[in-house]
């Protein structure tokens, strides 16, 4: 491991010792952060996978119904039927902090116009019942879809953050800290060596003075 390019002085030694203690503390904190993020991430991602499978299955069913509906009705009528939705959907997004990751928390805000109760934005005279089925199925999936959006985004953001944290932890553990330790050892040895040489020199000088006297 390469040692840092510094002069072996007492002042550098003190500085490096300070840096080492900060690096060690930072490493411990980041490691804790990484562990906790990983724990949350794994449970979330499992949930994410299950939810996605479920949603894809349900959506597939709804699409099948839609296909039947479009077979039973003319395309113009179908488009006309859904052209003016009765419901308007918006979403309220708040942020939740998971170990420094801003995960979204989403809430649907559904507004039904006119008479409540019926979600279908069309009269029943010209449309087929398959369309009703398809839309009611899709209506039921919306909550799951929202949950999927929320959890999938959270997983994505967390995966990024975990990767970043891991890089930092590794950089500290395998580069910064060993480098600092190596340099500190080098400086301590150098200083000791200097001290020893001073003592030897003094002893030599003393011998010379005594021999003269």
């Amino acid at each position: 491991m390469a040692r840092l390019d510094v002069k072996p002085t007492r002042m550098e030694l003190t500085k490096l010792r300070g840096r080492l203690s900060i690096a060690t503390r930072g490493h411990k904190l980041l490691k804790d952060k990484q562990d906790e993020l990983m724990r949350v991430f794994i449970s979330k991602v499992r949930e994410n996978q299950a939810l996605r499978k479920q949603v894809e299955k349900d959506l597939h069913k709804s699409f099948q119904e839609f296909l039947l509906a479009s077979a039973a009705m003319s395309p113009e009528l179908l488009e006309q039927a859904v052209a003016y939705p009765k419901e308007s959907i918006s979403v309220d997004i708040k942020r939740e902090n998971i170990m420094g990751v801003n995960a979204p928390v989403m809430d649907f805000i559904r507004k039904l116009e006119g008479d409540a109760g019926s979600i279908y934005p069309y009269g029943f005279v010209q449309t087929s019942s398959e369309l009703d089925d398809a839309i009611s199925k899709l209506y039921g999936i919306m909550d799951e879809l929202l949950e999927l959006a929320e959890i999938e985004k959270a997983c994505q953001l967390m995966a990024d953050e975990i990767e970043k944290t891991r890089r930092r932890v590794n950089a500290l553990e395998f580069r910064t800290i060993p480098e600092l330790e190596e340099t500190i050892r080098f400086i301590v040895m150098k200083l000791d060596e200097n001290e020893r040489s001073t003592i030897t020199r003094l002893m030599k000088v003393k011998d010379m003075i005594e021999a003269d006297a």
Partner: protein, 102 residues
């Protein structure tokens, strides 16, 4: 307050329109890219996009990965799923853990 949109081929997104979600039809990758970028600039919190369309514009989807808003979520189209959504989850796991543990 954020809005919700869906981008994809006309047949797949028609149903969403009936529920009051803004449906933006796209026939090819270019249209889908313009649609997604436009929606992201406006006040849209969630953009659902069909996997068929998403497979044509992977770089655009990638761009919104590390932003909290909007969430670009892949859904299967009426031709079935291409498994891109599940692959993305797997990629996330591999990125975070190093190996696929699912």
């Amino acid at each position: 307050m954020y809005k919700v949109a869906v981008v994809g081929d006309k047949n797949s997104i028609l149903g969403f329109k009936a529920l009051g979600i803004d449906a933006i039809p796209a026939l090819d990758g270019d249209e889908a890219r313009v649609a997604v970028d436009n929606l992201a600039r406006q006040n849209y919190g969630i953009i659902f996009i069909t996997e068929q369309m998403a497979s044509l514009i992977p770089d655009t989807i990638e761009r919104y990965n590390n932003q909290m808003i909007p969430a670009v979520i892949l859904i299967p189209s009426n031709q079935g799923t291409l498994n891109i959504g599940l692959d993305r989850i797997r990629d996330n796991v591999e990125k975070a853990v190093g190996i696929n543990i699912l």
